[in-house]
């Protein structure tokens, strides 16, 4: 293979990824414009709140609980090397609130919500339901995308807050039940150590990840190809894109909010 051929092999996917990012940015802009124009479909919004928020609670809660517990064990084991076992409550709290809570909730939402939105909208496209919406004088962007993206914007920060609390609770259960920490001291250390910017950053990340997960699901659903293969491809690509974008957004947000 020539050097030019090798460069082309790298360049083509990079260009394709940049083009896809551009299309997603345009789609986000169209969504924003559609959100600012009437009508607003309240029923669809309520359904989306249920799907994105309420029905995601079990998976978010369990993920946070086990992660918080595992984190406490790891910090304790690592801290022993420096005689720093006592910092378990503080590190669990800051780790969950600043990073693990938002990221894990974001990834769980990408797995559960992005996939379901992409598959649902792709199926609607394949079965001509999107065309039917248009012929019934209904803008698919306003009817399908706006309610779901707004539900992501409002629900996911709440899910992150709940995930943070349950994750800290997981660390608390392991710390007090297995590692010998005093209950009152554990809670006091956690509360004393956390600061308002930690909590705000967690909620901001949740809002951004919620928008990414729902927007990408809608975008890939709308871009779906024909047939079952098209629906499958839209779902798979949507979840992968949402997960990568959430992790990239997390790095950027962390750099902006906590970078030196």
């Amino acid at each position: 293979m020539t050097a030019a051929g090798g460069l082309a092999l790298i360049g083509r996917p990079v260009l394709a990824a940049l083009a896809a990012l551009g299309r997603i940015a345009l789609y986000a802009g169209q969504t924003l414009l559609a959100a600012l124009r009437p009508p607003f479909y309240w029923r669809e919004f309520r359904m989306a709140l249920l799907q994105v928020g309420w029905l995601s609670l079990p998976v978010v809660g369990l993920t946070a609980l086990f992660t918080g517990g595992a984190l406490a064990l790891q910090i304790y084991a690592g801290g022993q090397r420096f005689s720093a076992e006592a910092v378990v409550p503080q590190i669990v709290a800051i780790g969950m609130v600043r990073e693990l809570g938002p990221v894990l909730v974001g990834l769980m939402i990408a797995a559960r919500v992005t996939s379901s939105i992409a598959a649902e909208i792709a199926t609607m496209k394949v079965t001509e339901q999107i065309d039917a919406l248009v012929t019934l004088s209904t803008n698919p962007m306003q009817y399908l995308t706006v309610p779901r993206v707004l539900a992501g914007l409002f629900c996911v920060p709440v899910l992150v807050a709940i995930g943070d609390i349950i994750g800290i609770m997981g660390g608390f259960l392991v710390g007090t039940g297995q590692l010998g920490f005093n209950r009152a001291t554990y809670i006091q250390n956690t509360v004393d150590f956390l600061e308002a910017p930690d909590i705000v950053s967690s909620l901001v990340k949740g809002a951004v990840f919620g928008v990414i997960a729902t927007l990408i699901g809608c975008y890939h659903g709308m871009q779906s190809g024909r047939g079952a293969q098209g629906v499958g491809a839209a779902t798979k690509t949507g979840v992968a894109a949402a997960a990568v974008l959430i992790l990239a957004a997390n790095f950027i947000l962390t750099s902006v909010m906590f970078g030196q």
């Binding site: 609607m124 079965t127 001509e128 339901q129 065309d131 039917a132 248009v134 012929t135 019934l136 209904t138």
Partner: protein, 248 residues
């Protein structure tokens, strides 16, 4: 009146419509026939603006469909989709009343439901199906619900995309009769896409045959059998040999 002049549409190298000229007078029922993949559905979607044509013009009562105010334009249309295209998450009556419950002229829920029940009765469905979900209905019932939705807002123009595909002959006959009755009763302009010749004879005032991206023949349904076009003759008699290649 709907007028198409030299309408062209290509998807990549595939030139689906290569200069379609067609006039559908107001209050008449036009049926477009032609083999699978000849662009019948694309033609219909071009008129509705679901697909943007590349060249030529499409006018409705003299106004270009691409520049007409979108909501007002679409409010004049009803459409029955090939697979029904019912919204899975809504009940049958909510599907039928979809347009009535939204937009500038939205009706109170009770009034919209009453109209939906009346339209369901009109297509031969009992009130007990109103609260079912589309997935709980048979294919024929879904088609009838789609028909009820298409006529719910009393549109001036109704499009039917393969209205009898996938139905047994009896149900196909029921749908054909319903379409004819509704079009006559409402005085609507109708455009139907089908390759079911029984439907053609039951529904059409005029017939146009689309082949290779062009209208090959058009005329009253009564003169279809005596048409001297070999393409039309092969198609309406379902012959495997003739100018239309069987393998495409």
């Amino acid at each position: 009146m709907i007028e198409l002049a030299n309408v062209q549409k290509a998807f990549g190298a595939n030139r689906v419509l290569q200069g379609v000229n067609l006039t559908i007078p107001k209050g008449t029922s036009m049926v477009i026939i032609g083999g699978s993949g000849t662009g019948k559905s694309v033609l219909l979607k071009c008129i509705l603006g679901l697909v943007r044509h590349d060249a030529g013009s499409i006018t409705l009562d003299g106004q270009d469909v691409t520049t007409a105010p979108r909501d007002a334009f679409l409010a004049r249309f009803g459409m029955l989709f090939q697979g029904g295209a019912l919204f899975d998450s809504l009940t049958v009556w909510e599907n039928v009343a979809f347009r009535l419950l939204r937009g500038a002229g939205r009706l109170p829920q009770e009034e919209a439901r009453a109209i939906a029940l009346e339209k369901l009765r009109r297509v031969g469905l009992q009130p007990r199906v109103a609260d079912l979900l589309p997935a709980e209905l048979s294919g024929g019932m879904q088609k009838r619900v789609g028909l009820a939705r298409a006529i719910a807002a009393q549109p001036e123009i109704i499009f039917f995309d393969e209205p009898t595909t996938g139905l047994d002959p009896i149900m196909a006959g029921v749908i054909n009769d319903l379409i004819r009755e509704i079009v006559v009763e409402m005085g609507a302009t109708a455009m139907t896409i089908t390759h079911d010749m029984t439907s053609v004879r039951a529904i059409a005032d005029n017939v146009a045959m689309l082949h290779d991206g062009l209208i090959r023949w058009t005329g009253p349904v009564g003169s279809l059998d005596s048409a001297d076009d070999p393409y039309v003759q092969q198609f309406i008699h379902g012959r495997a040999t003739g100018p239309i290649a069987a393998v495409r």
